[in-house]
Protein backbone atom coordinates (compact mmCIF):
# COMPACT_ATOMS: atom_id res chain seq x y z
CA UNK A 1 0.00 0.00 0.00
CA UNK A 2 1.20 3.52 -0.64
CA UNK A 3 -0.14 6.34 1.46
CA UNK A 4 -1.36 9.14 -0.75
CA UNK A 5 -1.65 12.83 0.19
CA UNK A 6 -0.52 11.99 3.69
CA UNK A 7 2.03 13.93 5.64
CA UNK A 8 3.12 12.90 9.09
CA UNK A 9 2.41 15.50 11.70
CA UNK A 10 3.94 16.14 15.06
CA UNK A 11 1.35 16.34 17.78
CA UNK A 12 2.13 18.83 20.53
CA UNK A 13 3.20 16.11 22.97
CA UNK A 14 5.90 15.02 20.55
CA UNK A 15 7.26 18.51 20.20
CA UNK A 16 7.39 18.72 23.98
CA UNK A 17 9.14 15.35 24.09
CA UNK A 18 11.72 16.61 21.59
CA UNK A 19 12.37 19.74 23.63
CA UNK A 20 12.60 17.65 26.82
CA UNK A 21 15.06 15.28 25.11
CA UNK A 22 17.27 18.16 24.05
CA UNK A 23 17.28 19.57 27.58
CA UNK A 24 18.21 16.17 29.07
CA UNK A 25 20.96 15.74 26.49
CA UNK A 26 22.36 19.22 27.00
CA UNK A 27 22.33 18.99 30.80
CA UNK A 28 23.75 15.48 31.00
CA UNK A 29 26.18 16.29 28.22
CA UNK A 30 27.67 19.34 29.84
CA UNK A 31 27.68 17.41 33.11
CA UNK A 32 30.34 15.19 31.53
CA UNK A 33 32.69 18.05 32.28
CA UNK A 34 33.54 18.62 35.93
CA UNK A 35 31.77 21.97 36.20
CA UNK A 36 28.41 21.47 37.85
CA UNK A 37 29.85 20.65 41.25
CA UNK A 38 32.47 23.36 41.10
CA UNK A 39 29.86 25.99 40.30
CA UNK A 40 27.31 24.86 42.92
CA UNK A 41 24.73 23.87 40.30
CA UNK A 42 24.68 20.32 41.64
CA UNK A 43 23.94 21.81 45.08
CA UNK A 44 20.53 22.96 43.87
CA UNK A 45 18.01 20.53 45.37
CA UNK A 46 17.03 18.01 42.72
CA UNK A 47 20.15 18.60 40.62
CA UNK A 48 22.58 16.58 42.72
CA UNK A 49 22.63 13.89 40.02
CA UNK A 50 24.43 16.32 37.74
CA UNK A 51 27.62 15.72 39.70
CA UNK A 52 27.37 11.93 39.55
CA UNK A 53 29.25 10.92 36.47
CA UNK A 54 27.81 7.45 36.05
CA UNK A 55 24.28 8.84 36.44
CA UNK A 56 24.81 11.56 33.85
CA UNK A 57 26.51 9.04 31.58
CA UNK A 58 23.40 6.82 31.65
CA UNK A 59 21.09 9.85 31.36
CA UNK A 60 22.96 10.95 28.25
CA UNK A 61 22.55 7.49 26.75
CA UNK A 62 18.83 7.46 27.58
CA UNK A 63 18.45 10.92 26.04
CA UNK A 64 20.34 9.76 22.97
CA UNK A 65 18.02 6.77 22.58
CA UNK A 66 15.01 9.10 22.78
CA UNK A 67 16.56 11.46 20.25
CA UNK A 68 17.31 8.62 17.84
CA UNK A 69 13.72 7.42 18.15
CA UNK A 70 12.30 10.87 17.48
CA UNK A 71 14.66 11.55 14.60
CA UNK A 72 13.83 8.20 13.02
CA UNK A 73 10.14 9.02 13.42
CA UNK A 74 10.61 12.35 11.66
CA UNK A 75 12.83 10.97 8.92
CA UNK A 76 10.57 8.01 8.20
CA UNK A 77 7.55 10.34 8.11
CA UNK A 78 9.40 12.73 5.84
CA UNK A 79 10.51 9.99 3.44
CA UNK A 80 7.04 8.44 3.31
CA UNK A 81 5.21 11.78 3.09
CA UNK A 82 3.05 12.30 -0.04
CA UNK A 83 3.85 14.85 -1.28
CA UNK A 84 7.22 14.85 0.44
CA UNK A 85 7.64 17.99 2.56
CA UNK A 86 10.56 20.18 1.57
CA UNK A 87 13.24 21.04 4.16
CA UNK A 88 13.55 24.77 4.74
CA UNK A 89 16.98 26.38 5.06
CA UNK A 90 16.58 26.53 8.83
CA UNK A 91 15.48 22.90 8.78
CA UNK A 92 18.42 21.82 6.66
CA UNK A 93 20.94 23.56 8.93
CA UNK A 94 19.51 21.94 12.05
CA UNK A 95 19.20 18.57 10.34
CA UNK A 96 22.85 18.67 9.23
CA UNK A 97 23.97 19.58 12.74
CA UNK A 98 21.82 16.80 14.21
CA UNK A 99 23.35 14.28 11.82
CA UNK A 100 26.81 15.42 12.88
CA UNK A 101 25.87 15.15 16.56
CA UNK A 102 24.44 11.69 16.07
CA UNK A 103 27.43 10.42 14.10
CA UNK A 104 29.99 11.75 16.58
CA UNK A 105 27.83 10.55 19.46
CA UNK A 106 27.48 7.05 18.06
CA UNK A 107 31.25 6.86 17.53
CA UNK A 108 31.76 7.88 21.15
CA UNK A 109 29.30 5.21 22.29
CA UNK A 110 31.23 2.63 20.26
CA UNK A 111 34.46 3.85 21.85
CA UNK A 112 33.01 3.05 25.27
CA UNK A 113 32.66 -0.65 24.52
CA UNK A 114 35.25 -2.93 26.01
CA UNK A 115 38.07 -3.74 23.66
CA UNK A 116 37.58 -0.70 21.41
CA UNK A 117 40.75 1.35 21.13
CA UNK A 118 40.65 4.71 19.45
CA UNK A 119 43.74 6.78 18.96
CA UNK A 120 44.08 9.71 21.32
CA UNK A 121 44.02 12.23 18.47
CA UNK A 122 40.81 10.74 17.13
CA UNK A 123 39.16 10.82 20.57
CA UNK A 124 40.12 14.46 21.10
CA UNK A 125 38.87 15.33 17.62
CA UNK A 126 35.53 13.59 18.20
CA UNK A 127 35.10 15.27 21.60
CA UNK A 128 35.79 18.72 20.24
CA UNK A 129 33.58 18.20 17.21
CA UNK A 130 30.70 16.92 19.35
CA UNK A 131 30.92 19.96 21.62
CA UNK A 132 31.24 22.36 18.67
CA UNK A 133 28.20 20.81 17.01
CA UNK A 134 26.17 21.16 20.21
CA UNK A 135 27.02 24.83 20.48
CA UNK A 136 26.17 25.34 16.80
CA UNK A 137 22.87 23.52 17.24
CA UNK A 138 21.93 25.64 20.26
CA UNK A 139 22.61 28.79 18.23
CA UNK A 140 20.70 27.48 15.23
CA UNK A 141 17.75 26.55 17.43
CA UNK A 142 17.65 30.01 19.00
CA UNK A 143 17.87 31.60 15.54
CA UNK A 144 15.08 29.38 14.24
CA UNK A 145 12.87 29.99 17.25
CA UNK A 146 13.42 33.75 17.14
CA UNK A 147 12.51 33.86 13.45
CA UNK A 148 9.65 31.37 13.89
CA UNK A 149 11.33 29.30 11.20
CA UNK A 150 9.85 25.94 10.34
CA UNK A 151 11.64 22.70 9.55
CA UNK A 152 9.68 21.90 6.41
CA UNK A 153 7.16 23.39 3.98
CA UNK A 154 4.69 21.71 1.70
CA UNK A 155 5.75 21.73 -1.95
Amino acid sequence: MTPSATVLGFPAYMKRLYAFTLVVLALSGFAQMPIFKRYYIADVPGLGWLAQYYVTHVMHYLGAALLLGLVAYAVAGWLAGRPRPRLTGAGAVRAALLVGLIVTGVLRVIKNFSGVYMSADWIVFLDMLHIALVLAYVMAAIWAAAGKKRWTTQP
Partner: protein, 333 residues
Protein backbone atom coordinates in the same frame (compact mmCIF):
# COMPACT_ATOMS: atom_id res chain seq x y z
CA UNK B 1 56.90 -23.85 44.74
CA UNK B 2 56.76 -24.02 40.97
CA UNK B 3 56.18 -20.76 39.24
CA UNK B 4 57.29 -19.40 35.96
CA UNK B 5 60.45 -17.44 36.50
CA UNK B 6 60.53 -13.98 35.09
CA UNK B 7 63.23 -14.83 32.65
CA UNK B 8 61.59 -18.03 31.53
CA UNK B 9 58.18 -16.38 31.29
CA UNK B 10 59.57 -13.63 29.17
CA UNK B 11 61.43 -15.99 26.93
CA UNK B 12 58.67 -18.52 26.69
CA UNK B 13 55.63 -16.41 26.15
CA UNK B 14 56.22 -12.74 26.06
CA UNK B 15 59.02 -12.52 23.57
CA UNK B 16 57.49 -15.21 21.43
CA UNK B 17 53.81 -14.36 21.62
CA UNK B 18 53.84 -10.64 22.02
CA UNK B 19 57.14 -9.82 20.46
CA UNK B 20 58.29 -7.26 22.95
CA UNK B 21 61.51 -7.85 21.15
CA UNK B 22 62.62 -4.70 19.47
CA UNK B 23 62.52 -6.47 16.16
CA UNK B 24 58.76 -6.22 15.97
CA UNK B 25 58.74 -2.56 16.72
CA UNK B 26 57.02 -0.47 19.34
CA UNK B 27 53.52 -0.81 17.96
CA UNK B 28 53.79 -4.55 18.31
CA UNK B 29 54.17 -4.32 22.07
CA UNK B 30 50.83 -5.91 22.84
CA UNK B 31 49.86 -9.38 23.87
CA UNK B 32 49.85 -10.65 20.31
CA UNK B 33 46.76 -11.20 18.19
CA UNK B 34 45.31 -7.98 19.59
CA UNK B 35 45.38 -9.40 23.09
CA UNK B 36 46.30 -6.99 25.87
CA UNK B 37 49.23 -7.55 28.18
CA UNK B 38 48.48 -8.20 31.82
CA UNK B 39 50.62 -8.44 34.91
CA UNK B 40 50.47 -11.14 37.56
CA UNK B 41 51.32 -10.25 41.14
CA UNK B 42 51.99 -13.17 43.43
CA UNK B 43 51.32 -11.63 46.81
CA UNK B 44 53.05 -14.48 48.66
CA UNK B 45 56.40 -13.51 47.25
CA UNK B 46 56.52 -9.81 48.09
CA UNK B 47 58.84 -8.99 51.02
CA UNK B 48 57.95 -5.29 51.03
CA UNK B 49 61.47 -4.09 50.24
CA UNK B 50 60.15 -1.24 48.08
CA UNK B 51 62.81 -1.76 45.41
CA UNK B 52 59.96 -1.51 42.91
CA UNK B 53 58.72 1.75 44.39
CA UNK B 54 62.19 3.24 44.11
CA UNK B 55 62.64 1.92 40.58
CA UNK B 56 59.35 3.48 39.55
CA UNK B 57 60.41 6.84 40.95
CA UNK B 58 63.83 6.71 39.33
CA UNK B 59 62.48 5.63 35.98
CA UNK B 60 59.45 7.85 35.82
CA UNK B 61 60.66 10.82 37.84
CA UNK B 62 61.10 12.86 34.68
CA UNK B 63 57.33 12.57 34.12
CA UNK B 64 56.46 13.95 37.54
CA UNK B 65 54.83 17.39 37.80
CA UNK B 66 57.00 20.45 38.17
CA UNK B 67 54.44 23.00 39.29
CA UNK B 68 55.06 26.71 39.28
CA UNK B 69 54.30 28.55 42.50
CA UNK B 70 52.40 30.56 43.52
CA UNK B 71 49.38 28.78 42.11
CA UNK B 72 46.73 30.89 40.39
CA UNK B 73 43.83 31.67 42.70
CA UNK B 74 40.88 29.46 41.82
CA UNK B 75 37.21 30.33 41.97
CA UNK B 76 34.90 29.55 43.58
CA UNK B 77 36.62 29.05 46.90
CA UNK B 78 35.47 25.46 47.23
CA UNK B 79 38.06 24.46 44.63
CA UNK B 80 40.99 23.20 46.63
CA UNK B 81 44.61 23.13 45.63
CA UNK B 82 46.04 19.61 45.43
CA UNK B 83 49.70 20.13 46.15
CA UNK B 84 52.06 17.20 46.60
CA UNK B 85 55.17 19.02 45.47
CA UNK B 86 56.41 19.44 49.05
CA UNK B 87 55.56 15.84 49.91
CA UNK B 88 57.39 14.07 47.13
CA UNK B 89 58.93 11.55 49.51
CA UNK B 90 55.58 10.09 50.59
CA UNK B 91 55.65 6.40 49.67
CA UNK B 92 52.83 4.96 51.76
CA UNK B 93 50.09 5.88 49.29
CA UNK B 94 49.54 6.90 45.69
CA UNK B 95 50.40 10.52 44.91
CA UNK B 96 51.32 12.40 41.74
CA UNK B 97 54.92 11.65 42.76
CA UNK B 98 54.41 8.03 43.79
CA UNK B 99 52.61 5.75 41.38
CA UNK B 100 53.23 2.53 43.26
CA UNK B 101 53.19 1.77 46.96
CA UNK B 102 53.33 -1.30 49.15
CA UNK B 103 50.16 -1.95 51.07
CA UNK B 104 50.37 -4.05 54.22
CA UNK B 105 47.67 -6.39 55.40
CA UNK B 106 47.67 -8.40 58.60
CA UNK B 107 46.05 -11.78 57.98
CA UNK B 108 46.02 -15.21 59.52
CA UNK B 109 47.53 -18.09 57.58
CA UNK B 110 47.39 -21.58 59.16
CA UNK B 111 46.50 -20.02 62.49
CA UNK B 112 49.50 -17.75 62.36
CA UNK B 113 49.32 -14.00 62.10
CA UNK B 114 51.20 -12.90 59.00
CA UNK B 115 51.78 -9.60 57.27
CA UNK B 116 51.24 -9.59 53.52
CA UNK B 117 52.83 -6.95 51.31
CA UNK B 118 50.84 -5.93 48.29
CA UNK B 119 52.22 -3.70 45.53
CA UNK B 120 49.41 -1.33 44.55
CA UNK B 121 49.13 0.86 41.51
CA UNK B 122 46.70 1.37 38.63
CA UNK B 123 44.86 -1.85 37.75
CA UNK B 124 44.86 -1.02 34.02
CA UNK B 125 41.24 -2.01 33.61
CA UNK B 126 40.26 -3.84 30.43
CA UNK B 127 37.60 -1.17 29.84
CA UNK B 128 38.95 1.74 31.88
CA UNK B 129 36.30 4.25 33.01
CA UNK B 130 39.04 6.84 33.58
CA UNK B 131 39.84 6.71 29.86
CA UNK B 132 36.38 6.17 28.46
CA UNK B 133 34.71 8.91 30.51
CA UNK B 134 37.44 11.55 30.20
CA UNK B 135 35.61 14.49 28.61
CA UNK B 136 38.64 15.72 26.67
CA UNK B 137 40.39 12.65 25.46
CA UNK B 138 43.31 13.41 27.75
CA UNK B 139 43.22 9.82 28.97
CA UNK B 140 44.06 7.09 26.54
CA UNK B 141 44.24 3.34 26.39
CA UNK B 142 46.73 1.54 24.24
CA UNK B 143 45.98 -1.74 22.48
CA UNK B 144 48.45 -3.47 24.80
CA UNK B 145 45.99 -2.79 27.63
CA UNK B 146 47.68 0.05 29.47
CA UNK B 147 46.00 3.35 30.19
CA UNK B 148 47.68 6.67 30.74
CA UNK B 149 47.02 10.37 30.83
CA UNK B 150 48.47 12.97 28.51
CA UNK B 151 49.95 15.66 30.77
CA UNK B 152 49.79 18.16 27.90
CA UNK B 153 46.01 17.91 27.56
CA UNK B 154 44.76 16.94 31.03
CA UNK B 155 43.01 19.80 32.83
CA UNK B 156 42.98 18.14 36.25
CA UNK B 157 39.22 18.08 36.74
CA UNK B 158 39.61 14.76 38.60
CA UNK B 159 36.70 13.11 36.79
CA UNK B 160 38.93 10.09 36.20
CA UNK B 161 39.69 10.01 39.92
CA UNK B 162 35.99 9.99 40.74
CA UNK B 163 35.01 7.31 38.25
CA UNK B 164 37.97 5.05 39.02
CA UNK B 165 36.67 2.34 41.36
CA UNK B 166 40.05 2.38 43.14
CA UNK B 167 40.67 6.12 43.36
CA UNK B 168 43.98 5.69 41.56
CA UNK B 169 44.52 8.95 39.60
CA UNK B 170 46.07 11.68 41.74
CA UNK B 171 46.02 15.40 41.05
CA UNK B 172 48.75 18.01 41.19
CA UNK B 173 47.76 21.67 40.94
CA UNK B 174 49.87 24.25 39.15
CA UNK B 175 50.86 22.30 36.03
CA UNK B 176 49.41 21.69 32.61
CA UNK B 177 47.20 23.19 30.01
CA UNK B 178 44.71 24.85 32.36
CA UNK B 179 47.36 27.45 33.21
CA UNK B 180 47.19 28.67 29.60
CA UNK B 181 43.39 28.78 29.50
CA UNK B 182 41.31 30.13 32.38
CA UNK B 183 43.29 28.98 35.42
CA UNK B 184 40.99 30.72 37.88
CA UNK B 185 37.78 29.37 36.45
CA UNK B 186 38.40 25.94 34.98
CA UNK B 187 40.79 23.06 35.55
CA UNK B 188 43.05 22.40 38.48
CA UNK B 189 46.26 20.80 37.26
CA UNK B 190 47.07 17.38 35.86
CA UNK B 191 46.23 13.84 36.95
CA UNK B 192 49.00 11.30 37.46
CA UNK B 193 49.18 7.55 37.85
CA UNK B 194 51.13 4.47 36.78
CA UNK B 195 51.41 4.41 32.99
CA UNK B 196 52.80 0.85 33.10
CA UNK B 197 56.03 2.26 31.75
CA UNK B 198 54.52 2.61 28.29
CA UNK B 199 57.74 4.06 26.93
CA UNK B 200 59.83 1.15 28.21
CA UNK B 201 57.31 -1.36 26.85
CA UNK B 202 57.45 0.37 23.48
CA UNK B 203 61.23 -0.06 23.50
CA UNK B 204 60.83 -3.73 24.29
CA UNK B 205 61.86 -3.31 27.93
CA UNK B 206 60.10 -4.48 31.05
CA UNK B 207 58.26 -2.03 33.32
CA UNK B 208 60.77 -0.77 35.86
CA UNK B 209 58.99 -2.21 38.90
CA UNK B 210 58.95 -5.69 37.37
CA UNK B 211 62.60 -5.56 36.43
CA UNK B 212 63.74 -4.26 39.82
CA UNK B 213 61.96 -6.76 42.04
CA UNK B 214 64.44 -9.18 43.60
CA UNK B 215 61.68 -11.66 44.43
CA UNK B 216 60.08 -11.97 40.99
CA UNK B 217 56.71 -10.92 42.38
CA UNK B 218 55.43 -9.68 39.03
CA UNK B 219 55.26 -11.24 35.61
CA UNK B 220 53.85 -9.73 32.45
CA UNK B 221 52.45 -11.44 29.40
CA UNK B 222 49.38 -11.92 27.21
CA UNK B 223 46.29 -11.67 29.40
CA UNK B 224 45.01 -15.18 28.70
CA UNK B 225 48.34 -16.68 29.71
CA UNK B 226 48.56 -14.51 32.80
CA UNK B 227 45.05 -15.59 33.81
CA UNK B 228 45.85 -19.24 33.20
CA UNK B 229 48.98 -18.93 35.29
CA UNK B 230 47.08 -17.13 38.06
CA UNK B 231 44.48 -19.91 38.12
CA UNK B 232 47.15 -22.55 38.16
CA UNK B 233 48.83 -20.97 41.19
CA UNK B 234 45.50 -20.42 42.91
CA UNK B 235 44.54 -24.06 42.37
CA UNK B 236 47.87 -25.23 43.61
CA UNK B 237 47.82 -23.25 46.84
CA UNK B 238 44.07 -23.11 47.35
CA UNK B 239 44.40 -19.38 46.80
CA UNK B 240 42.33 -16.49 45.52
CA UNK B 241 42.40 -14.17 42.52
CA UNK B 242 41.68 -10.44 42.34
CA UNK B 243 41.45 -8.36 39.18
CA UNK B 244 40.23 -10.99 36.74
CA UNK B 245 36.56 -10.02 37.02
CA UNK B 246 36.65 -6.78 38.98
CA UNK B 247 35.28 -3.81 37.08
CA UNK B 248 34.63 -6.13 34.16
CA UNK B 249 38.21 -7.38 34.26
CA UNK B 250 41.58 -5.70 34.67
CA UNK B 251 45.06 -6.28 33.33
CA UNK B 252 46.45 -6.57 36.86
CA UNK B 253 45.88 -9.96 38.42
CA UNK B 254 46.69 -10.61 42.09
CA UNK B 255 47.00 -14.09 43.54
CA UNK B 256 46.67 -14.39 47.29
CA UNK B 257 46.87 -17.28 49.76
CA UNK B 258 43.96 -15.78 51.75
CA UNK B 259 40.55 -14.46 50.65
CA UNK B 260 40.57 -10.82 49.64
CA UNK B 261 37.89 -10.03 52.24
CA UNK B 262 40.50 -10.94 54.81
CA UNK B 263 43.08 -8.70 53.17
CA UNK B 264 40.51 -5.92 53.17
CA UNK B 265 39.83 -6.39 56.85
CA UNK B 266 43.52 -6.42 57.67
CA UNK B 267 44.58 -3.29 55.84
CA UNK B 268 44.04 0.44 55.77
CA UNK B 269 42.17 2.05 52.94
CA UNK B 270 41.39 5.61 52.05
CA UNK B 271 42.46 8.32 49.63
CA UNK B 272 45.34 7.03 47.54
CA UNK B 273 45.12 3.60 49.20
CA UNK B 274 42.97 1.38 47.02
CA UNK B 275 40.76 -1.35 48.49
CA UNK B 276 40.47 -4.94 47.30
CA UNK B 277 36.71 -5.24 47.39
CA UNK B 278 34.53 -6.78 44.70
CA UNK B 279 33.84 -4.19 41.97
CA UNK B 280 30.96 -4.35 39.52
CA UNK B 281 31.66 -3.45 35.90
CA UNK B 282 31.10 0.29 36.06
CA UNK B 283 30.57 0.65 32.31
CA UNK B 284 28.08 -2.21 32.07
CA UNK B 285 24.81 -0.32 32.43
CA UNK B 286 25.78 2.29 29.85
CA UNK B 287 26.96 -0.32 27.39
CA UNK B 288 23.75 -2.28 27.80
CA UNK B 289 21.78 0.88 27.13
CA UNK B 290 23.78 1.29 23.95
CA UNK B 291 21.92 -1.78 22.71
CA UNK B 292 18.66 0.06 23.37
CA UNK B 293 19.98 2.81 21.16
CA UNK B 294 19.91 0.42 18.24
CA UNK B 295 16.25 -0.34 18.87
CA UNK B 296 15.17 3.28 19.38
CA UNK B 297 15.34 4.36 15.72
CA UNK B 298 13.53 1.19 14.65
CA UNK B 299 10.76 1.95 17.12
CA UNK B 300 10.58 5.58 15.96
CA UNK B 301 10.43 4.68 12.29
CA UNK B 302 7.90 1.94 12.98
CA UNK B 303 5.67 4.36 14.86
CA UNK B 304 5.82 6.85 12.00
CA UNK B 305 4.99 4.26 9.34
CA UNK B 306 2.11 2.74 11.26
CA UNK B 307 0.71 6.17 11.98
CA UNK B 308 0.84 7.15 8.35
CA UNK B 309 -0.72 3.90 7.26
CA UNK B 310 -3.62 4.44 9.61
CA UNK B 311 -3.98 8.00 8.39
CA UNK B 312 -3.93 6.88 4.75
CA UNK B 313 -6.46 4.16 5.31
CA UNK B 314 -8.94 6.26 7.21
CA UNK B 315 -8.16 9.95 7.60
CA UNK B 316 -11.12 10.28 9.94
CA UNK B 317 -9.69 7.78 12.37
CA UNK B 318 -6.40 9.56 12.77
CA UNK B 319 -6.84 13.23 12.12
CA UNK B 320 -3.70 14.36 13.86
CA UNK B 321 -1.43 12.70 11.37
CA UNK B 322 -2.58 15.05 8.66
CA UNK B 323 -4.18 17.89 10.60
CA UNK B 324 -1.11 18.92 12.44
CA UNK B 325 1.07 18.73 9.37
CA UNK B 326 0.87 22.43 8.52
CA UNK B 327 2.13 23.18 12.00
CA UNK B 328 4.96 20.81 11.58
CA UNK B 329 8.04 21.96 13.35
CA UNK B 330 6.70 25.40 14.11
CA UNK B 331 7.60 25.58 17.75
CA UNK B 332 10.21 22.93 17.90
CA UNK B 333 13.63 24.03 19.00
Amino acid sequence: MPSISRRHFLKGSMAAACGLAVSRGAEAADGGGGEPLATLLDIRKCVGCEACVLACQETNGHKYPQPKKPYPKMYPSRVKVSDWSDKQDVTDRLTPYNWLFIQHATVTIDGEETELNIPRRCMHCVNPPCVKLCPWGAARQEPNGLSRFDPNICLGGNKCGEVCPWDVPQRQTGVGLYLDLLPSLAGNGVMYKCDRCYDRLARGELPACIEACPEGVQTIGPRSQILAEARRIADEIGGYIYGAEENGGTNTIYVSPVPFEEINRGSEYGPGRPHMEPVEDQMKLGNRLAAAMVLAPLAGAGAAISRMMRAAQGPEEDKTATDSAPDEGRDRP
